[in-house]
C-alpha cells in the first residue's frame, strides 16, 4: 500500500483537486467563473497552478523511476530503445491524466473542453523534451507556458 501511495501520490492529489475544483464550479451552476469575483478568480487560479504542477511532477516522477535503473535497461536494450521506452512511459502518464480529466469533465459538465486538450498536449511535449534532449531551458519555458495557459483557461 505504502509503495503505491508513494508512486501515485501526485496522481491521487491532482485527481482530488480536479474533483474539488469541478465540484465547486458546478455548484456555482456555471462552468465559467465570473471575472468580477476576484476572490473566486484567485482561488481557481491557485488550484489550477497546483493541478498543473502536480501533473508535471507525476510525469517527471514516473520518468525518474525508470531513470534509476537506466544502466541495467541500456545494457539489455540500447540507448535509443531506452529513450523510446521512456517516451512510451510519458505517453502512458499523459493518457492517464487525459482520461481522468476527460471522465471528470464528462461527469460534471457533460463535455470535454478544448483547452484541456491543448494543455495536456503541451505537458506531454515538455515532458518528452526534458527526457529526450535533457535541455533544461527548453523545458522550463514549456512548463512556464503550460502553467500560464492552464491558469488563463482556468480564469476565463
Amino acid at each position: 500500500m505504502e509503495r503505491y501511495l508513494t508512486k501515485y501520490k501526485y496522481l491521487i492529489l491532482t485527481t482530488l483537486l480536479r474533483v474539488y475544483l469541478m465540484y465547486i464550479l458546478v455548484d456555482e451552476n456555471t462552468y465559467l467563473v465570473s471575472v468580477y469575483d476576484i476572490d473566486s478568480v484567485f482561488f481557481h487560479f491557485v488550484i489550477g497552478l497546483g493541478i498543473t504542477l502536480m501533473d508535471i511532477l507525476y510525469i517527471l516522477q514516473s520518468c525518474l523511476y525508470m531513470h534509476q535503473i537506466k544502466n541495467q535497461m541500456i545494457i539489455r536494450l540500447s540507448q535509443k530503445e531506452y529513450y523510446m521506452y521512456s517516451i512510451k512511459n510519458i505517453l502512458v502518464c499523459y493518457f492517464i491524466i487525459t482520461i481522468i480529466q476527460g471522465s471528470l469533465q464528462m461527469f460534471f459538465y457533460h463535455h470535454i473542453s478544448y483547452h484541456f486538450m491543448l494543455y495536456s498536449f503541451i505537458l506531454m511535449i515538455s515532458s518528452i523534451i526534458i527526457f529526450r534532449f535533457d535541455n533544461e531551458h527548453i523545458h522550463n519555458y514549456l512548463v512556464l507556458l503550460s502553467l500560464i495557459i492552464n491558469s488563463l483557461f482556468k480564469l476565463f
Binding site: Q72, M73, I74, R76
Partner: protein, 202 residues
C-alpha cells in the same frame, strides 16, 4: 571472442584514464581485472557494456553482444519497489519472466523474492546480491561484475563463489573487476590496469 581495441578515454581533466588499452577475451574465460582506485576499471567495463563511448578505439563482439549481464559500480534499482517488481521489470524487457528460475536464484542467496520490503530498505550486501541475480537471471553469456562482493558477509561471498564456479562450468565469459583477492575463484587470466594501459599478470 571479445576484442577490446586501442581504447582511449579521458574526462574533464584532460589526462587519459584509459590510454590505448587493448585486450582479447576468449569465450568461457574467467578473468580478474585489478588496479588502484580511479585507474579506470569501471570505465573499461562501462565501455565494454556500451554505457559509455570511448574517445577512440572499439569493442568488437564476435557473438552474444546482446546477451550481457552486468553490475556496474553500485547496482541501482527502482527504490520504492520490491525485489520481485525490479527483477520482473528487467526480465520482461527482453524475455518472459521465469518466476521459478528467479525464485530459485534468490533462494541460493537467502533472499525472499516475495518480500514486501522496498529496495531502499535493503543493506548494501543484499542489494549487491539482487544486482548479481539480475546480471545472471536471463542466462546471459557474458557477465561483467564490478566489485561484486562489496558489502557481502562471509556466507554471501561463499554463495557468490559457488555461483561463479557454476557459471564458469557452463562456459560463460566472466570478467570481474575487484580489489579483493576472491580466494574461492580460480581465475584463468588476471590483468592489472596501470597508467591507462593493461598488463597481463597471469
Amino acid at each position: 571472442m571479445i576484442e577490446v581495441k586501442n581504447i582511449k578515454k579521458s574526462f574533464n581533466s584532460g589526462s587519459f584514464v584509459l590510454n590505448d588499452l587493448s585486450m582479447i577475451i576468449e569465450e568461457g574465460d574467467l578473468i580478474r581485472i585489478t588496479g588502484s582506485n580511479g585507474c579506470g576499471k569501471s570505465t573499461l567495463l562501462k565501455i565494454m557494456c556500451g554505457l559509455m563511448k570511448p574517445d577512440s578505439g572499439s569493442v568488437i563482439y564476435e557473438k552474444y553482444k546482446n546477451e550481457i549481464g552486468a553490475i556496474i559500480e553500485n547496482p541501482t534499482f527502482i527504490e520504492n519497489d520490491t525485489i520481485l517488481y525490479n527483477l520482473k521489470f528487467l526480465y520482461d524487457l527482453r524475455n518472459n519472466f521465469d518466476e521459478e528460475k528467479v525464485k530459485s536464484l534468490c533462494q541460493q542467496f537467502d533472499l525472499d523474492l516475495y518480500n514486501k520490503s522496498v529496495m531502499k530498505k535493503y543493506s548494501v550486501g543484499m542489494r549487491q546480491k539482487v544486482g548479481f541475480i539480475q546480471a545472471i537471471m536471463e542466462d546471459q553469456k557474458i557477465i561483467y561484475l564490478d566489485e561484486p562482493t562489496r558489502g557481502m558477509d562471509e556466507n554471501g561471498v561463499n554463495q557468490f563463489y559457488s555461483m561463479i564456479r557454476q557459471l564458469h562450468s557452463e562456459n560463460k565469459t566472466i570478467v570481474i573487476c575487484t580489489h579483493e583477492k576472491l580466494d574461492g575463484i580460480h581465475f584463468q587470466k588476471e590483468f592489472e590496469i596501470k597508467n591507462g594501459t593493461i598488463f597481463n599478470k597471469i
